[in-house]
Symmetry: C2
Amino acid sequence: MAQAARKPSKQSAKPDTRERLLEVAEAAVLAKGFSATSIEELIAAVGITKGGFFYHFKDKNELARALMLRYLDHDRRVLDDIFTRGDAADADPLEGFLTGLTLFAETLAKLKDAHPGCLAASFTYQDQLFDREVRALNAEGILAWRRRFRARFDLIAAIHPPRESVDFDADYRDALADMAATLVEGGLILGRALGDATILPGQILLYRDFVKAIFR
Amino acid sequence: MAQAARKPSKQSAKPDTRERLLEVAEAAVLAKGFSATSIEELIAAVGITKGGFFYHFKDKNELARALMLRYLDHDRRVLDDIFTRGDAADADPLEGFLTGLTLFAETLAKLKDAHPGCLAASFTYQDQLFDREVRALNAEGILAWRRRFRARFDLIAAIHPPRESVDFDADYRDALADMAATLVEGGLILGRALGDATILPGQILLYRDFVKAIFR
DNA sequence: TGTACATCAGTGAACGCGCGTTCACTGATGTAC
DNA sequence: TGTACATCAGTGAACGCGCGTTCACTGATGTAC
């Protein structure tokens, strides 16, 4: 009981004004950028007044921070889920990873919104608007991807020796790990600019090919 | 004489107010986004008044259009230059291309500005701010990358058969071509977010590895 | 060589609108006794 | 079971500032004759 204090104890049906503000804000930020996203439009969408907004966020910068935190949490959970499922399909770390990448590509291909985006990319291209804390959160989110994939490649390499033509040192491993986030960020941009939702999944499958070519 | 009418005929030393506005605007847009970039700050940096700005651009949207055109032109010239030099080093289309990729990575590594960016990415993540024409220019710029690399892969594949494990059909060729722009866009984001200028060149070299693994 | 006119590249003042932020207040719900 | 008080989740009005845009005007340079 006591530890449930974070969320209102009653399991109310009303979908939490603050969360709805964040939801609407994220979509707006991805479409027009942070500074073109006005508080006015958010409260209009959610149906409260300005005072209500400033009850939830002390200023606009705190909205940015909250968006970033929400994004990081969501991101982590989605990746955990996908690669857990991949590993469940095969005990070998390489095969499980390859299956995870396939699942990832399929998930991305099924996204209802044809032109999604990544808050990290949006914030990075507007970083002058944010304080040190928000930028640090953003960097941390990307480092989380690096660590996740790097750990997996270490695991794989311990069992499956990479083909001799590559020097599989620390730098190479980090670059290969970073390639995942790189392709996601880049793929989202190409997909949106061209209005083609197949580009991002296609790039993930190329990544899968590349990893396969290195390890087996 | 007559055909020189586009540029002021005198080769003046003063660096062209309009061009300076675009230069300053591009840097500001890459740092904070388009709508947070004020006309006020641009004229302050260049040393003219607001009326002067509106002499060069009828409204802010025309500034966006001019930025996009300038970016496309610059982009094309840089790529032309690099891959022309790559081909000059080796007559074989694969070897020339691989050399071009190395040159490209080296060029990117040497950029004085450690946190550059790509206007296409910035505009894509704010596309709701722009009219159909600007968005079309942006898409066209990305398609130019696809066509450029796709043509090269067709050329290479005619001489060097890709390894049997890949089905080198039209979709695969396009995806492999798109991977270049994808890695550049993604690499710029990671590089900026982490403040690490080595990431982008590293990704280009991985791309080079991948292409090499496919064709030889 | 001089004069008339046109164009270029701006100046400088004014405008109204929308934005982020503040603040005093309020009705509904929860908790203590 | 009833009353007093505190907290939650807002309302509603007001604010000042900066932004994009307009417009009448101007001095320097170029061109025609």
